[in-house]
């Protein structure tokens, strides 16, 4: 496999997973920007475990997942049913705190970053295949879980919360529990992504985890469609691939084009490209075709 294709596939997978991590809490109208802080914390933690304490990547990964989940759980005790803005402020706060702690911690390279993370498998080629397989396995597992969630009572409850919190409460939906569940899951996924992200680059640097990532994942969700998980699957590779294909004269206006796409989609198709109705129609079409067969 060519290197550009490898990096395109792996980074697209990271973007899908992280956008899903943001998408899930958004099902109850929470913009859970804490996920970017989770990425950084778990990532640097895993780097320290591997380089500092000699752990293997395969041991550091579950620890990174756990760390993400734990932080998400702790905070969800306070913000499980908080208003949207509170969750936004929590996210911003932890991004700032994380960055400040990392830049002042010599053990994780401080402002210089961490270099030379080892291969996760015996050779560079094996390393690449291992990460690619791991990422797409995670995409499948997380995607499956989200799909099951969306077609469950909990999924329907979250849709109700999104539309009308008070009405959902009157129907017996426990908003706090639901919010906590989604936030913990989202933080766990983000923690795992952080670990893999660093080993993809074989280094960590603070500027891998900036507010621009927040903008990127928000764009993917809103352009792809925030009402269904499939919007992320379509938008992530498209938005990433688009910028790689621009000719140099156009590439210099990349950010303007991104912003214009974002605005245009939100104005013309507020629910994004992939809507619930579209998925429903597709499902009906597929099931009718199956019946014919």
């Amino acid at each position: 496999m060519s290197l550009p294709l490898y990096y395109f596939l792996t980074i697209t997978a990271i973007n899908i997973l992280m956008s899903w991590a943001l998408y899930l809490p958004y099902r109850v109208a929470h913009l859970h920007f804490l996920t970017v802080a989770n990425m950084a914390i778990s990532g640097y933690l895993s780097g320290w475990l591997v380089q500092g304490l000699g752990f293997s990547f395969w041991a550091a990964l579950p620890i990174g997942l756990l760390a993400g989940g734990l932080l998400g759980w702790l905070l969800s005790l306070f913000i499980g049913d908080a208003p949207t803005f509170t969750v936004v402020i929590v996210g911003f706060t932890f991004i700032y705190i994380t960055r400040t702690v990392i830049e002042n911690t010599k053990a994780v390279g401080a402002t210089m970053g961490m270099f030379g993370l080892p291969l996760v498998a015996g050779s560079p080629a094996a390393h690449r295949w291992a990460l690619l397989a791991l990422l797409y396995a995670l995409v499948l597992v997380v995607g499956f879980l989200i799909h099951r969630f969306e077609h469950s009572r909990l999924g329907r409850a979250s849709s109700a919360v999104f539309v009308d919190k008070d009405l959902a409460t009157s129907f017996g939906v426990d908003i706090k529990k639901l919010g906590r569940l989604l936030q913990v899951f989202s933080s766990t996924v983000a923690g795992g992504c952080g670990v893999i992200y660093g080993f993809l680059y074989r280094s960590f640097h603070l500027d891998f985890f900036t507010f621009q990532l927040v903008g990127l994942f928000m764009t993917i969700i809103f352009v792809g469609g925030y009402a269904t998980m499939w919007g992320v699957v379509v938008a992530a590779p498209l938005l990433y691939g688009l910028t790689l294909l621009f000719p140099p004269e156009v590439a210099s206006w990349r950010i303007v084009i991104y912003g214009a796409i974002l605005v245009a989609v939100l104005v013309l198709k507020p629910e994004g490209f992939i809507t619930r109705r579209l998925i429903l129609n597709l499902e009906r079409l597929l099931s009718s075709k199956r019946k014919k067969i």
Partner: protein, 294 residues
């Protein structure tokens, strides 16, 4: 003690920046139900327009002020239909969609500034126009003319906007359209012209804020808006969305807090601690310190 007083004055100066921006932010919220996350970027754009006019007209200040106001009004009027289109539910603020649209607008503005003005480099305003003359100095305590003017105008701006929105017919009309356009139409308020006036008003305020920031800071850069956008949103939330007096108090308080943190602790912690304080406040009072006023 001298150091403490100096830092408090520095804090008031920083706080007045937040007050000005939050006032404009709240005005848009009150008259149009828009969370314009990138309002600071619009202000920075207006600063650049003022700079261009100053440069090519030999420092013609009135023209620069007009140009700045004009630019801000133009952007507001151009973006108004975009926001109006995406807002489906007019009873509540659709924070998510408007926030994302404004993020897109902010990205466009920042990148246009990086490409099109001074090769993306920061710009500085003519020294004779910047308010860096000390009106009072004692040891480390220094009060500059720009700081005094910005703080004074900030307070006046908040008072003026508050009076306009809550004590005049026109202000009531603006708020009526924002809260319930159908109801407003029923009572005979012309939607289109009143709506446009409300956007123009926030644009005028934005242009004036740009001039004041130029006076106070003496410089700007393409990324300046992004640097303060999080804090402006934070101040507005902590004060209570749409709460003008609350925005004044919290803006100044945040400025003082940051200045004291920078003065007594390592500077790199100032953002983290400031946001931590904001977080604690919002956990205790989710509707803001002074309550939402939408």
């Amino acid at each position: 003690m001298q150091v403490f007083v100096a830092q408090v004055i520095n804090g008031l100066s920083l706080g007045s920046i937040y007050v000005l921006l939050v006032t404009g932010f709240n005005l848009l919220l009150l008259v149009a139900m828009i969370i314009h996350f990138s309002y600071p970027q619009v202000v920075v754009f207006s600063m650049y327009i003022a700079w261009v006019v100053l440069r090519y007209t030999g420092n013609n200040v009135p023209l620069a002020v007009l140009a700045s106001v004009g630019a801000s009004v133009a952007i507001n009027l151009a973006s108004a239909p975009l926001f109006q289109k995406i807002m489906k539910n007019r009873e509540e603020v659709d924070i998510n969609s408007t926030m994302v649209v404004s993020m897109g607008i902010g990205m466009i503005i920042t990148d246009v500034l990086s490409h099109g003005f001074n090769k993306g480099l920061p710009i500085s305003f003519p020294k004779e126009l910047v308010g860096d003359v000390a009106v009072f100095r004692f040891g480390l305590i220094s009060l500059l003319s720009g700081q005094v003017v910005s703080l004074a105008v900030g307070v006046l701006a908040v008072s003026g906007v508050f009076l306009l929105l809550y004590k005049t017919r026109q202000g009531r009309a603006f708020r009526a359209i924002a809260e319930d356009p159908n109801g407003a139409r029923l009572v005979g308020i012309p939607l289109l012209s009143t709506g446009l006036q409300s956007y123009a008003l926030s644009g005028i305020l934005g242009g004036l804020i740009a001039v004041l920031l130029a006076l106070m800071l003496g410089y700007t850069s393409p990324g300046l808006g992004e640097l303060v956008a999080h804090k402006v949103l934070g101040v507005s939330i902590i004060a209570g969305l749409g709460n003008l007096p609350g925005g004044l108090v919290v803006g100044l308080a945040l400025g003082i807090l940051e200045a004291l943190i920078q003065g007594y602790l390592p500077g790199s912690w100032s953002n983290a601690i400031a946001f931590l304080v904001l977080l604690v406040v919002i956990l205790v009072k989710p509707r803001g310190l002074f309550g939402i006023k939408l």
